[in-house]
């Protein structure tokens, strides 16, 4: 959607449909200041306010089978975050069916139930909470309308319970009724039940995809098969900035099993009768990769320097610049975070079948709609003729927010007239990732005489997260002029501080950087929360109380204070090292979900070990408290892994490492042996869960390490 040439007013209105930001306000702000627009949009992204709207009716969402089972065709994909289970719980309530009778599947685009945006950003449950309940309630009423017609009575006389419709002594299962329906009648959205009456929502229901996942059912993209399928391997660059300068395929052509070498302007692929044959032939292709230069890590780090490029103020209160300039005692500190790889265990790839009639693609993706569009465009087909059948993802984390590999398998399939399966190797995953961008932070503060923060400034220099992403409409970028994803978590959440601002310095790196679980949250919270700790220690104050003292008195402030107090209390937070164990504290708010954590750290066998993490999260209504807990546990360990061990380097123009092990990640032995999660529910609707718990963990560990060793570690990874 590159509408930058259209009239600005029109495109902004389209972008804002359904948003909580009033159009009038924004246009008014636009008239006044581009900066204000940026800040509104930034806060919109920070609060993950992406309301749901794909204009598909209930009978598409809910397929009712003859044996009275409900198949919920989900436009959101399941990548471990528990969305399918949550959706089933929500639907069961208003549909009046037993949860065990709902099966959730990935909606094929052929059903037309297609997500308008993507699965990600911790928006699946929060975004579908209202719409799905309404859809389920409407479906129930649609069934009653049909039953009323069959039994020649009023809809209000029909009752629906446990998958059965009844009227007096007559009853019929939903499945029996559906067989008789000629045409659905869709009523107005009925009123919803009271949340307090819910049977499933709010309960720790075991995930509904457990069995498949422990018996090894073939549910993932990489497990997909099609009859007569061949195997494809695509030549990919291993060097940053490499452009294709031609290839010699002669050696590959005659190798065993090779069916065809597909040479396109933008890629070369080998199609063969086995995976091994395709890989071996691919390796025999000599590509002339042209590179201007061989990048090094040092050069990348140099690019990330606060002060380079255009500063954009993303948040402001009071007069921070003046106060800093006028002060004789500005406290400053710098922090850094490295390039991070997604490293999800299932590589990217797809299985495509292209014929004259159309294309069918089975794949793991977080962006069904865009992928279909891109494939259709490349093949010169109508979008409706390209069918994407999404599969369970073996890890998403933002890696699959752009999946153009579908184009390659589709083109190869078209070239050979048979289905083709093609997947990345692990080395290709590491070298062609769209990484978590490295960052550089400079924080400044001016203190009052009685130890309060008078002014605070957070500067973050980062590679892009959203810029250049297929997900972000082109017109947004010139308007905003900076990368909103990198700001996530970068704003100051302590709004009782009289003067503050957050400033972004955007850096265009020579390799792809994009969305990594929680975007800028991990790095930004690391910098800000370590700095807060440094300020508290310097002014000899308790770090927990120090934070509480600077939180404003409003709804958001209340929720943040509650998680901070609860975490400190639950962990028994103390500043002193006791029996060789030190504690560190940190808190963040992401997409309106505040989280506070305490990390207990010790040195064991000459290594820093995280023994225990206490986590208090307020996600609003917890649809499934056990899954909220699971997301906290996973985020904490994944965040700890990134904060302590993970780092990509650039060596002689190539991204390294290219394998697990050398790319060090947390293993079983590194994971804390105790993770204690408490859930507060100080908001009425479900909010973000999948990413917010990643925020505090890096800073909590670093603050603990300081107390343990006296050393302030300001660079991640914390362990060298």
């Amino acid at each position: 959607m590159n509408n930058s040439k259209n009239k600005k007013g029109v495109t902004r209105r389209k972008f804002l449909i359904g948003s909580s930001i009033g159009v009038g306000v924004l246009l008014g702000a636009g008239y006044l200041s581009r900066n204000l627009i940026r800040r509104y949009i930034a806060s919109m992204v920070n609060e993950a306010d992406m309301p749901y709207n794909n204009n598909v009716g209930p009978s598409v969402w809910f397929e009712i089978t003859a044996d009275n089972k409900i198949i919920l065709h989900s436009p959101k994909v399941e990548m471990g975050q528990g969305t399918f289970t949550g959706l089933a719980q929500i639907a069961a309530e208003e549909l009046e069916v037993d949860l065990s009778n709902i099966n959730v599947v990935h909606a094929s685009t052929a059903t037309s139930n297609i997500d308008p945006f993507a699965t990600g950003g911790s928006t699946s449950i929060s975004g579908l909470w209202q719409p799905l309940r309404e859809l389920a309630a409407t479906m129930r009423e649609m069934l009653k309308i049909q039953a009323a017609q069959i039994w020649d009575t009023e809809r209000s006389s029909i009752s629906a319970a446990d998958g059965q419709l009844s009227f007096g002594s007559k009853s019929m299962s939903y499945g029996e009724l559906v067989a008789q329906v000629k045409e659905w009648e869709v009523p107005d959205t009925p009123p919803l039940k009271d949340v307090s009456s819910y049977k499933y929502v709010g309960k720790p229901i075991p995930r509904i995809d457990l069995m498949d996942k422990v018996i090894g059912a073939p549910i993932f993209g990489m497990d997909a098969t099609m009859p007569d399928m061949l195997y494809g391997a695509v030549v990919r660059p291993d060097r940053i900035g490499a452009t294709f300068g031609g290839a010699d395929v002669s050696a590959a052509r005659d190798m065993p099993g090779v069916v065809k070498i597909v040479e396109e302007e933008d890629f070369i692929g080998v199609v063969a009768t086995s995976r091994m044959a395709a890989e071996e032939a691919k390796n025999a292709i000599k590509v002339d990769w042209k590179t201007d230069k061989n990048w090094t890590s040092a050069e990348i780090v140099e690019m990330l320097e606060v002060g380079q490029g255009n500063p954009i103020v993303i948040q402001k209160q009071g007069d921070p610049a003046d106060h800093i300039e006028d002060s004789q005692q500005v406290i400053t500190a710098e922090y850094r975070s490295p390039i991070g790889a997604h490293a999800q265990i299932e590589p990217n790839g797809s299985v495509s079948s292209v014929t004259d009639e159309g294309a069918t693609i089975k794949m793991s993706t977080q962006v069904v709609k865009i992928t279909r569009k891109e494939v259709a465009k490349r093949l010169g087909m109508d979008e409706e003729d390209v069918v994407i059948e999404p599969t369970y993802l073996g890890g998403g984390f933002g890696r699959r927010l752009h999946t153009p590999n579908a184009i390659q398998t589709a083109v190869m399939s078209k070239a050979v007239g048979k289905p083709v399966a093609s997947f990345y190797t692990r080395k290709e995953e590491f070298q062609n990732d769209t990484f978590r961008p490295p960052t550089h932070h400079v924080l400044k503060a001016v203190m009052t005489e009685d130890g309060k923060i008078d002014t605070i400034e957070h500067n973050v220099s980062s590679g892009d997260v959203m810029f250049g992403s297929a997900l972000v409409p082109g017109f947004v970028q010139p308007v905003v002029g900076a990368d909103v994803g990198a700001w996530r978590g970068g704003m100051i959440q302590y709004e009782a501080i009289p003067n503050f601002h957050a400033i972004s310095w955007r850096v265009k790196l020579p390799f792809a950087t994009s969305w990594w679980r929680s975007l800028g949250l991990l790095a930004n919270t690391f910098a800000i929360e370590c700095f807060l700790d440094e300020l508290a220690v310097q002014t000899k104050q308790d770090p927990v109380q120090f934070r509480l003292d600077h939180i404003q008195d409003d709804d958001r402030g209340y929720r943040l204070k509650e998680v901070i107090k609860a975490a400190a209390k639950r962990a028994g937070y103390r500043d002193e090292v006791v029996d060789g164990v030190a504690m560190g504290f940190a808190a963040s708010t992401d997409a309106n979900t505040p989280v506070a954590q305490v990390a207990a750290v010790a040195i064991v066998d000459d290594e820093i070990k995280v023994l225990k993490v206490t986590c208090v999260i307020d996600p609003g209504l917890a649809v499934n408290p056990d899954q909220v807990r699971a997301q906290c546990e996973g985020s904490i360990i994944m965040g700890m892994s990134a904060a302590m061990y993970e780092k990509m380097e650039v060596v002689d123009g190539q991204l390294y490492p290219v394998i697990y092990g050398p790319y060090r990640m947390a293993l079983m032995k590194d994971a804390p042996k105790k993770i204690d999660v408490e859930i507060l529910q100080n908001a009425e609707t479900p909010g973000a869960v999948g990413e917010p718990p990643l925020g505090p963990i890096g800073a909590a560990i670093a603050n603990a390490i300081f107390r343990l060793t006296g050393e302030r570690r300001r660079e991640m990874p914390l362990v060298k």
């Binding site: 975050q81 995809d209 996942k213 422990v214 090894g216 073996g394 984390f397 994944m638 947390a666 079983m668």
Partner: protein, 155 residues
């Protein structure tokens, strides 16, 4: 090369290049997709199977070495419709998130419990070294202790 072996209790025979990783024989030739590809370099463990009762990473195990062996994959872990104690424990503790690495972990754990029926936390640290990106290790540890309990009860 013609290779004969037993897989999940059934005889099997395949004709593949002798250095084909057993992972692909299992997945592409025998159509058993439970054993997963994560790296192909024996680093992540997602491809773990049992060969004559020992845990083996099938991406680094050439087909020729499977000749005459007794192979078990995740599909063969449960018997008579009853889940293996490790699988049961995994369900009881609600371990999986994305689920992709879980068969590898379950196979590695089953092999460990066979030799170390009552593992300590240190035993678990020393023997379970697969990679889980969703980082479900916390619940896995609980499930491993639970699986040991279930196994001991069954005896």
């Amino acid at each position: 090369m013609n290779i004969s072996f037993t897989i999940n209790g059934q005889p099997a025979q395949v004709d593949v290049p002798e250095d084909t990783p057993m992972l692909w024989v299992i997945r592409d030739v025998l159509n058993l997709q439970g054993t997963k590809f994560g790296c192909g370099k024996a680093a992540c463990g997602a491809c773990t199977i049992h060969v004559d009762g020992d845990a083996v990473r099938s991406c680094a195990f050439s087909a020729k070495f499977a000749d005459g062996k007794d192979i078990t994959t995740i599909e063969g872990l449960s018997s008579d419709g009853k889940l293996h104690p490790v699988q049961q424990a995994w369900v009881d503790e609600v371990v999986p998130q994305c689920g992709y690495c879980q068969p590898g972990f379950i196979m590695a754990t089953a092999a460990m419990l066979d030799k170390i029926p009552n593992p300590t936390d240190e035993d678990i640290d020393d023997n379970i070294v697969n990679v889980c990106r969703c980082a479900t290790y916390y619940r896995m540890r609980k499930a491993i202790h639970k699986a040991a309990e279930i196994s001991n009860e069954n005896i």
